[in-house]
Amino acid sequence: MATVMLLRACSRGSRNLLLQMRALPQCQSQAVISKPFTASPALATIEYFRARRGPFTPEEKRGKNHIMTASTHWKVERIVAVAMVGIMPAALFIQGSTMDHLLSTFVYLHGFWGIDGVLKDYMLKFVPWICKLWYLIAIVGFAGLVNFNYNDVGVCKAIQMIWSL
């Protein structure tokens, strides 16, 4: 924005630059209502989220011990998504134990990468270990799904039963 103003001043003369600069603060204060920051120092939990602890340097952001490049991982994510485009409508017509396993694997994997992305967008800079925690929780969740498919009715049958209410 400063460069635009400078270019304008170059074409019209420096007096106009001063006029433009004086005009701006007025229109800004009219349109914008700012919230006064009066949080008491007692809110220590908010204080925790003030500071970024996450990866700062490019080396930290690159990470260590990757199994594949980020672009390859992106391709795998899209392959799973395209596979789901086939599996989800097929589950309406074909049910059974195979469909149970297929559905739970693909949907869960897609959801795992989704939550991973959301956590990396919002939480990672405050809580650097959050993705590892989600990894552990997701493993337990997948174990629960596999157990449900094996020892209980299975997801397709369960959805049918819920829908029959």
């Binding site: 006064p36 500071a51 989800m88 869960y108 629960g144 799904l145 039963m161 829908w163 029959s164």
Partner: protein, 173 residues
């Protein structure tokens, strides 16, 4: 002798240089957290207003569809993962659970509302996911196409989720 004198003359400057280096290094040793907490305590003491961040954006379709896509995805995955973990910790016979809910004989609007809560996120996320895959393939970035596809996805997901709620009724299993 001359070397000694010259070295003595040079050493104060050398010491000053090292002391300057040491103080500069200790200033750089503060990490981001310390700098940020100092920033926040100072601004809190001065009672400065926060600069506006979320409220300054006028909501538009692309933002709303993307937000709904993300929210439906997160809610679904949390529901699936949460249900799976709860079922792992408290193993129940699913058929018995269903009999219990059927015996409650909840009012029909509540049942239909609950079915909408299940069906709408899935259909919306699926159809908007198709839109996302089209973008990944390189199609549909133009503003007109973007808005048309966005409205189409919203309308189609409303229609399809209504069909799922009212049109599909498996026999009581």
């Amino acid at each position: 002798m001359a070397l000694l004198v010259r070295s003595l003359a040079r050493s104060p400057c050398f010491l000053r240089q090292t002391s300057m280096l040491v103080s500069r290094r200790s200033k750089m040793a503060t990490n981001a957290y310390e700098e940020m907490s100092r920033y926040w305590t100072r601004n809190r003491k001065l009672n400065r207003p926060l600069s506006p961040f979320l409220t300054v954006y006028k909501p538009h379709l692309a933002m709303m569809t993307s937000l709904t896509h993300r929210i439906t995805g997160v809610v679904m995955q949390v529901a699936i993962c949460g249900t799976a973990i709860i079922l792992l910790c408290f193993p129940v016979d699913f058929k018995k659970c269903l009999e219990y809910v059927r015996d409650l004989s909840l009012p029909a609007p509540l049942i239909y509302g609950a079915k909408y809560v299940f069906a709408f996120p899935v259909t919306y996320h699926f159809l908007n996911g198709l839109r996302h895959l089209a973008w990944d393939a390189g199609y549909g970035f133009g503003l007109k196409t973007l808005y048309r596809s966005g409205y189409f996805v919203i309308a189609l997901s409303a229609v399809v989720s209504t069909y799922f709620v009212f049109g599909i009724k498996p026999s009581a299993l």
